[in-house]
C-alpha cells in the first residue's frame, strides 16, 4: 500500500534559473491509477524523479506513506518503473533483464516465469532484446516493472511511438496486471484518450513552470479501446469545460502516431 503526497513549492532545473515546477501539489491514495497529463515542459519527468527519490533538490516535500523522501535513506515504496523507451540491457537475455531488478532470491525464477507468462513471452525468456520486436520489448519492460511486486508503479509515457494495436495490447496487459496487484500508479502521458482509457483520475498540468490545473476523476468501465464512444464523450465534456487543456496539448505533435493532434480531439 502506497500513498503519495506531493507538495513542491519551487523546483529549478539543475544548474539553471529556469523554474520547472511551481506550487505543484497533489496527493494520491493507495492503489489508485493516476495519469499526469500535460504539455512538454510541464516537468512531468522531474515529478517522477522526485517521487523516485533521485532528485531531492527542491523547496517543498514529497511524502511516500507519510515519510518525507528528504529524510529517508531507503525509499519507503517498492518501485516498478517503465520509461519512454524499453531500456532493456541489450547484452542480457529477457530472463536476465528481469533477474537484474530482483533481489537474487531462490524464488526469483518462479516469479520471472509467472510474469513472463502473463505478458505472453514465456518462449522468449532466453532471447536477447535485439531479437525482439518493439512491442515485445515493451512487454518485457512491463514484465520487469511488475516482477519486483511493486506497490508503486511509475510510468513515463511507456507506450510512446508504438503502433496502435501494440499499444492497445499493452494497455490491456497493464490493466490486468494492475488489477491483480493494485500498486499505486503514476502514469505520465500526453495522449488524453490513453489517460481517459486507463486512469481513475487525471491530473492536468500546465506548461512551464508546471502546476496542477485540474483534477479529473473518471468513472467509466475500463479498459476501453481508445476510440470507444464513452471515452469520446468524456473527452468532449472535459474539453468543453477546460478548453485551455487542449491548447496546451495541441502544441504537442512530435510526429509520434499516438500523440493526439487537434483534429483527433475534435473529431
Amino acid at each position: 500500500m502506497t500513498e503519495l503526497a506531493i507538495d513542491i513549492v519551487r523546483k529549478h532545473y539543475a544548474s539553471s534559473d529556469v523554474l520547472a515546477l511551481k506550487d505543484l501539489s497533489f496527493s494520491v491514495t493507495s492503489g489508485k491509477f493516476v495519469a499526469l497529463v500535460g504539455p512538454s515542459g510541464a516537468g512531468k519527468t522531474t515529478i517522477l524523479n522526485s517521487i523516485l527519490g533521485l532528485d531531492n533538490d527542491y523547496q517543498g516535500d514529497v511524502l511516500v506513506n507519510a515519510q518525507s523522501l528528504k529524510e529517508v535513506d531507503v525509499h519507503p515504496a517498492k518501485i516498478g518503473c517503465m520509461f519512454q523507451e524499453p531500456r532493456l540491457m541489450p547484452w542480457m537475455t529477457v530472463e536476465q533483464n528481469l533477474e537484474l531488478v530482483l533481489e537474487g532470491k531462490s524464488s526469483d525464477k518462479q516469479l520471472i516465469r509467472k510474469v513472463l507468462e502473463q505478458v505472453e513471452l514465456t518462449e522468449r525468456a532466453s532471447s536477447y532484446p535485439g531479437h525482439l520486436s518493439g512491442g515485445m520489448q515493451r512487454r518485457v519492460a512491463l514484465a520487469r516493472a511488475f516482477a519486483v511486486n511493486p506497490n508503486l508503479l511509475l510510468m513515463d509515457e511507456p507506450f510512446l511511438s508504438l503502433d496502435e494495436p501494440s499499444a492497445d495490447r499493452l494497455r490491456q496487459l497493464l490493466y490486468t496486471l494492475w488489477q491483480e496487484l493494485r500498486p499505486t500508479v503514476i502514469f505520465v502521458t500526453h495522449n488524453l484518450r490513453e489517460a481517459l482509457a486507463l486512469a481513475d483520475e487525471i491530473i492536468f498540468l500546465s506548461a512551464s513552470p508546471g502546476t496542477v490545473i485540474r483534477h479529473f476523476p473518471i468513472d467509466i468501465k475500463r479498459p476501453q479501446q481508445l476510440d470507444h464512444s464513452a471515452i469520446s464523450e468524456l473527452q468532449e465534456r472535459l474539453l468543453r469545460e477546460n478548453p485551455e487543456i487542449l491548447s496546451g496539448l495541441a502544441e504537442e505533435n512530435d510526429g509520434g502516431n499516438i500523440n493526439p493532434t487537434q483534429e483527433q480531439y475534435l473529431q
Binding site: L52, L54, I79, F83, E85, R87, M89, W91, L100, L154
Partner: protein, 248 residues
C-alpha cells in the same frame, strides 16, 4: 569444412616455408638456417628445459605488467571519461605519456630503481597505461546514461549497478585495450629483458645475438609466436565470443 580463404591462407604460409627451406639449402649460409634446422634447435631447447624456463619468466612478466596496466589504465580511463575535471587535469600528461619512447622509460626505470623486476614491470606499465586510458575513456564516454537510470529507478544496489549495468557497457573497449595491450606488452617486455635482466626470452635473444646464433634466435621466435597464438585462441577469443554473444 575449410573455406577457400582458409585454403589460400594455408597455401601461402606453407609456400613461404617451402621457399625458405629451398633458398636456405641452396645458399648453405649460417645467416639463413633452414626451417627444419630451426625446428630441431627448438626441440633441443625445449627438451633441455632451458627454453621453458625463459619463456615462463617472460610470460610471468607479461602477465603482471598486463594486469597492472589494465587495472590502472581502466580506473583512470573511467574517471577521465566520466568527469570533465579529471579529464582536463590529466589530458596533458596523457599526451606526454603516449609519446614518450619506450626506450626512455625503460632506461630511466633501470637507473632509478636498479636492474630489478619491479623496474622492468614499471617501465612496461608506464608505456602501456596511456593507451589503455585512451580506449577506456572512449568507452566511458559512450556509456548509455538511460540504462544507468534504470538501475537507479529500480534502486538496484551500487555494486550490482557497477558490475551488471556499467562495466558490461565497457567490455568491448576493455577487450580492445586488452588485445592491443598484449600485442604491445609482448614486444616491450623483450626489450626490457634485453637491456637489464639476466633471464627471459629477451635476455636469451641478446645472448644469441652476441654469438650471431640465428638458429637460436629463430627457435625462440617460433616458440614465442606459438605462445601468442595459444593465448589468443585459448583466452582472448573465447572471452570475446562470450561477451559479444548478444550481438549475433
Amino acid at each position: 569444412m575449410m573455406t577457400r580463404d582458409r585454403w589460400l591462407n594455408v597455401l601461402f604460409l606453407s609456400g613461404f616455408f617451402l621457399l625458405w627451406q629451398i633458398i636456405a639449402q641452396v645458399l648453405e649460409s649460417s645467416s639463413l638456417p633452414a626451417p627444419s634446422a630451426v625446428l630441431v634447435e627448438f626441440w633441443k631447447q625445449l627438451e633441455s628445459g632451458e627454453m621453458l624456463y625463459h619463456l615462463g619468466i617472460t610470460l610471468w612478466r607479461v602477465l603482471v605488467a598486463f594486469a597492472v596496466s589494465m587495472l590502472i589504465g581502466t580506473f583512470i580511463g573511467i574517471l577521465m571519461g566520466r568527469y570533465r575535471m579529471v579529464n582536463s587535469a590529466l589530458d596533458g600528461l596523457l599526451v606526454l605519456g603516449l609519446n614518450i619512447p619506450a626506450l626512455v622509460t625503460i632506461i630511466l626505470c633501470y637507473i632509478w630503481f636498479g636492474l630489478v623486476d619491479a623496474a622492468a614491470i614499471t617501465a612496461v606499465a608506464i608505456n602501456k597505461i596511456p593507451t589503455v586510458i585512451v580506449t577506456v575513456r572512449e568507452g566511458a564516454r559512450a556509456v548509455d546514461r538511460k540504462l544507468l537510470e534504470v538501475a537507479d529507478a529500480f534502486h538496484i544496489p551500487r555494486y550490482r549497478k557497477l558490475f551488471r549495468v556499467y562495466l558490461p557497457q565497457l567490455y568491448p573497449y576493455l577487450m580492445a585495450a586488452a588485445r592491443s595491450g598484449l600485442a604491445l606488452i609482448w614486444k616491450i617486455v623483450l626489450v626490457v629483458e634485453l637491456l637489464g635482466r639476466s633471464n627471459g626470452v629477451g635476455f636469451q635473444l641478446g645472448t644469441y645475438f652476441q654469438f650471431f646464433d640465428i638458429t637460436g634466435i629463430l627457435a625462440y621466435t617460433f616458440a614465442f609466436a606459438s605462445v601468442v597464438l595459444v593465448v589468443e585462441a585459448a583466452a582472448m577469443r573465447p572471452i570475446d565470443n562470450r561477451i559479444s554473444r548478444w550481438r549475433s
